[in-house]
């Protein structure tokens, strides 16, 4: 039980550290004329919204975990996940 708690805390620490590193690294401002590559279609949050939607349905109806994608975790389907 204690080991599980420690493991969980370690994962949380790693996650928070990664988030902080991301934000820290982001202090550099990239001017608009240098954003050609980040504007590429494959760099978007969702490359194809219908594909994202189909994948989401596949996973939410087969797994106990969902959310973290600006959508509700659960509800809206005839399943108990």
């Amino acid at each position: 039980m204690v080991r599980t708690g420690m493991k969980r805390a370690r994962f949380l620490r790693i996650f928070v550290a990664l988030a902080i590193i991301s934000v820290q690294a982001g202090c550099v401002v990239v001017p608009a004329y240098k954003r050609e590559h980040v504007g590429h279609a494959t760099m978007r949050g969702s490359v194809d919204p219908l594909l994202t939607s189909a994948d989401r349905k596949l996973h939410t109806s087969r797994e106990a975990a969902s959310g973290g994608d600006a959508r509700p975790a659960g509800g809206g389907c005839g399943c108990s996940n």
Partner: protein, 395 residues
Amino acid sequence: MRARLCFRSRRARLTTLVAIATAASTLAPAIATSQVDEVRVRLSGYNQHGFGFQSRASVVDALPLMGNIAGSERLGVFQALGRLGVRQNDRVRHSLDLAVDIVTSASADALDAVSSASRVNEAATIEGRTFVDVTDNDHLTFNLGYHIEETLKSGHGNISYVRDLAQDNATIGASFGLVVDFFDPITPYGFDLGFVRRATVNANLGASQILSPTTIAYLAYGLTYQVGTLQQTWNAVPLDNFDRAAELFPRTRLRHAATLTLAQRIPITRTTLRGSYRLYRDDFDVTAHTFALTAFQELGERVVLELGYRLHDQTAVSFWTQEAPSDVVTRGAFRSADSDLSAFRAHQASIGLRFVLSGNGEARGEESVDVRYLRYARSTGLHVDLFSIGYAREF
């Protein structure tokens, strides 16, 4: 009384006509000046095999594999998805999504097990969104949707706000959503006990940040609270006296999920790599870790190869069992034998090809066709093969 009813009816009719005329006169100029912004169509077919303790279907077939209590989770799904996007003016866009699922199930559905009444189920979802650029840096999105399937009717709504920061190098956003479900609580023996409901409230925070001319990071956190009948009432729980009981869940569930995504463009090789990690935790004692990696490789000017891998690892809900004591019903103890809520690890691999018919692969103005194959396999033995073909045109 009759005259009064008649008057009321006339007044209602008049009111309706005035409302329609007002709406039409308001919307007509908007519709006349609108232009199609986006068209997408996707057809998918799934084929699922597996066995789960919640299922009462084809138990005899399952005997050699899982003992005498796991039923079939065999399932076939045909899914059609479509999106039409319309730009009303420089600041307002709308989109309408339509999804239709046709499910052939010999599966975990009580009606199939008892009467074969639902061997073919249909489900449909319609969802409308409006995107408003309030200023150059402030964006609002509203969406409303309705979903209907064999035993369930569901409505949902969402509002989200995004703010651009640091000369469009970063965004922060928040959203709030509500889902209300009404469904028939059918028991594992096929009895329909009337209608029950559940509500899901959801709040999200998100941010994105350009880290370099070729790198973007996305960070999102979602909090979801559910209340009501959360179990799928027709799922069976095997008992130690060889009988079956219905699932029973707590009436509330609090769920947290946080996702970090990094996207890296490698211009020399014309490759994009996207990696993400999601940490999930809820008060049913489920902890899950999900890693996903996708590579997009341009092969010449018109073809993009997509390779994906996803790993999902989850613990079981605290009340999961494959065989509950027979007094579990009289004690009113929580229980579930649903394989989706058990502890498992799932691997998913996908391969896709996108053919660019016109446009140059930049943010908009592209027309493309894609094909994709996906294999999803769980350590519980369940596996899914998915084929998909899509068409997209952005204007």
